[in-house]
């Protein structure tokens, strides 16, 4: 998909009809829109999202105020956003209308239309515009293509794991397979419930009733878990807000930054600890055979050796050879072997010790296998000792970090600045509440797992009952089909998520390698949290620009990942990725001068079409020098104001050698005007 133009009509601060035509040149793929804060950059980004999906970014203020105030004052009742784009060789026009009837107070009518335009400009209406738009850029993926960089911290903050995990799942196009799992589970449940009502199958009904109780219990536990998760997230947000305040507060910032660093290290240690513990469990499950079979291996080997010495294994005689002599009735020495004679019996007696080729093969295989077990046994104590040593040192590191974090908290509480101390106390209380919720959540999640296991076990027990009724057999068969289908899809989903995590991790590291000035290592934690460390393994402090860079690299990696996810790559299980323009609002966030320039080199390569919304501090001379060769279209949002300038400074931009005022006063209306820079 490629954007051609966007036309705004009475949308927010954009009065009347105003248009931006985007660059279509693949070599100059960047469209730049300059605007000072509050003039309309974020509105422009949201205009596209609102047009396509009827939604705006989460932090967009006064979401419901769509109509321009000047237009409202003139009794105008219509606002709209029209986006023209090209997709798979065809041109489409999508328009969302907002209209108010009967003045203020009534609910507005909001509708979407979509048309395909042929080469002669003839329009053909598309019957299901919402479905059409979602098929071009799926709604779940859209928020990463139309991205508000000012809030990039959503990904790099301490409580980011959920948002990051969701972003990866969204880009993986999981909703098809997730819905299939949900529907197959539902089908299994439905068939199970019908088993309760079959006449003459009392035992079956009893099991069905037990399963129904367990399913109800599971539902309650899942609801409870969802409630506790939401509460934890709410507390996380509150803690995050106080932490941000402390990070910016004079007198506290150095302590808070030190705590950020320690907390980041703590999370990294905890993650490594979990991995090491999982390794031990995995190792015990797969590698302990040599350890427990030590005695068996020794005894078996000595048995084989003893029997070999006795001349039985391997035997000096081959069974087939002895049988041949008896059949021919001639001994190897040439004597005749008449059946039932002493000589014949002596030769026949050899069969007791004779072996055949199959037996010999088995002995050789057993010997080799036991030999391998014996060799593996030598490594067993070393491997386990190493893992345990690692766990021991990580636990010690964890304790030290917790102590240091506690001390930093005490320092904040002890500061003579009452406001800061108060904030820290509030943070401590919220943290205690959150710990309690996390504790409760752990119990609830355990209950969920127990219920799931109990349902599975009870169903397996139910399957063992001998049923007479044909209907019962049918229902059990259908339930099994649905259940097995759901299980297969679940394992496919887990595998794909893990693969996606690895791919995106690699992409982010590649991007950081090209843009960051130091050697960083990016890593996903098990729960999708994002870790950025220096080469020496120490965590990069959150407040630094590197984390802004990491968030930007994450978005770029998501876009690249989407590109690579073709129809074939996802198979029937996942919605393929999409090729869409990248619209970035304030992508350089808190980056310093050097990083801004380095990142500006990289931004045009992030997608085949890039729209950058920049303030003058974001798009300074150094950034503009880097971007210049890639800019195919350029606009300025000019703020027009009714009132006089007064004491305000004169804002202007110098673009392509021309001075362009960005705010005008004593104008007939308050509005934002889109001005093309030519």
């Amino acid at each position: 998909m490629k954007l051609i133009k966007v036309k705004l009509f009475n949308f927010r601060q954009f009065y009347g009809s105003q248009t931006i035509v985007f660059s279509q040149d693949p070599k100059k793929n960047v469209t730049l829109v300059h605007a000072e804060n509050g003039v309309g950059k974020t509105t422009l980004l949201n205009a596209i999202r609102w047009c396509f999906y009827g939604e705006v970014t989460s932090k967009f203020e006064a979401k419901d105020q769509i109509m321009n105030f000047e237009a409202v004052a003139e009794n105008s009742s219509l606002a709209s956003v029209e986006v023209t784009f090209e997709h798979e060789g065809k041109t489409y026009i999508v328009e969302r209308h907002f209209s108010v009837r009967n003045g203020n107070g009534s609910r507005p009518d909001i509708s979407l239309t979509a048309h395909e335009a042929d080469r002669h400009g003839q329009l053909r209406q598309i019957d299901t515009p919402d479905t059409f738009v979602s098929s071009v850029v799926p709604r779940a993926m859209a928020k990463y293509f139309f991205f508000d960089g000012e809030h990039a911290e959503t990904f790099s903050s301490e409580t980011n794991a959920r948002a990051v995990g969701q972003a990866v799942r969204d880009m993986l196009g999981c909703n098809v397979i997730e819905a299939a799992i949900e529907d197959l589970d539902y089908a299994a449940k439905q068939y199970g419930a019908q088993l309760a009502d079959i006449p003459g199958e009392a035992q079956l009904s009893e099991f069905a009733a037990r399963i129904k109780d367990l399913e109800d219990k599971l539902q309650r536990a899942q609801d409870n878990a969802a409630g506790k998760t939401a509460e934890k997230e709410r507390l996380d947000d509150q803690i995050q807000e106080i932490t941000d305040q402390l990070r910016d507060a004079e007198g506290a910032k150095h302590i808070q930054r030190a705590r950020d660093d320690k907390e980041r290290s703590l999370r990294s240690v905890q993650d490594r600890l979990r991995t090491a513990e999982q390794n031990v469990v995995k190792w015990v499950g797969t590698k302990t055979l040599p350890l427990v079979s030590r005695k068996l291996a020794v005894e078996t080997l000595s048995f084989i050796d003893e029997e070999s010495l006795k001349g039985r294994i391997p035997s000096p005689y081959n069974e087939e050879f002895v049988q041949g002599l008896l059949k021919a009735e001639v001994c190897i020495c040439g004597h005749e072997l008449k059946p039932a004679t002493t000589e014949w019996k002596s030769v026949a007696d050899l069969l007791r010790k004779a072996s055949n080729s199959e037996l010999m093969g088995r002995v050789v295989r057993a010997r080799t296998r036991i030999g391998v077990l014996k060799e593996l046994r030598e490594d067993v104590p070393t491997v386990l000792e190493n893992e345990q040593r690692k766990i021991g040192s990580l636990v010690a590191e964890q304790k030290d970090l917790e102590k240091e974090i506690g001390e930093l908290g005490n320092q904040l509480k002890g500061l003579p600045l009452s406001e800061i101390a108060e904030r820290e106390r509030a943070r401590e209380q919220l943290s205690a509440k959150r710990d309690a919720v996390i504790g409760g959540l752990g119990g609830v999640l355990l209950a969920v797992r127990q219920c799931e296991r109990a349902i599975r076990d009870t169903r397996a027990e139910q399957d063992k009952i001998t049923v007479k009724s044909e209907r019962a057999k049918k229902l059990l068969g259908r339930r099994e089909i649905a259940q097995q289908g759901g299980d297969i899809l679940r394992s496919i989903l887990i595998q794909h998520q893990e693969d996606a995590k690895i791919t995106i991790e690699k992409l982010i590291n590649n991007i950081l390698e090209k843009t960051a000035r130091r050697n960083y290592k990016f890593r996903f934690q098990n729960n999708f949290g994002m870790d950025l460390t220096y080469a020496d393994g120490h965590a990069v402090p959150k407040s630094e620009g590197e984390n802004q860079l990491m968030s930007l690299a994450f978005i770029a990696a998501l876009v690249q990942f989407s590109l690579s996810r073709t129809e074939e790559a996802g198979g029937p299980f996942f919605i393929p990725g999409t090729i869409a323009p990248l619209v970035l609002d304030s992508p350089f966030g808190k980056l310093d001068q050097k990083y801004k320039s380095d990142t500006a080199h990289f931004v045009p390569k992030m997608a085949s079409q890039v729209v950058l919304l920049l303030s003058s501090s974001q798009g300074d001379d150094a950034v503009m020098d880097v971007l210049k060769p890639f800019v195919g279209a350029e606009y300025v949002l000019v703020s027009e104001n009714r009132g006089p300038r007064g004491e305000k400074t004169e804002d202007e931009l110098v673009l392509r050698g021309k001075k362009i005022p960005t705010s005008l006063f004593n104008q007939p209306k308050n509005l934002t005007c889109i001005v093309e820079v030519k």
Partner: protein, 52 residues
């Protein structure tokens, strides 16, 4: 309970996913309709198999 033939089950899942895809971009609440079609598919699949 017997294990299903993996190839046949794979075919069923392919059809299930086709239905899910058809509804993937639908914004209206189509859950009941979608689930009805999945139940129908399982029925058809089971009835083609002996003793089911």
């Amino acid at each position: 309970m017997e294990k299903q033939n993996p190839k046949q089950l794979e075919e069923l899942l392919r059809q299930v996913l086709q239905i899910e895809r058809a509804y993937a971009f639908e914004l209206k609440n189509v859950k009941a309709e979608r689930r009805g079609r999945i139940l129908e598919l399982v029925e058809q699949f089971a009835s083609k198999r002996p003793n089911q």
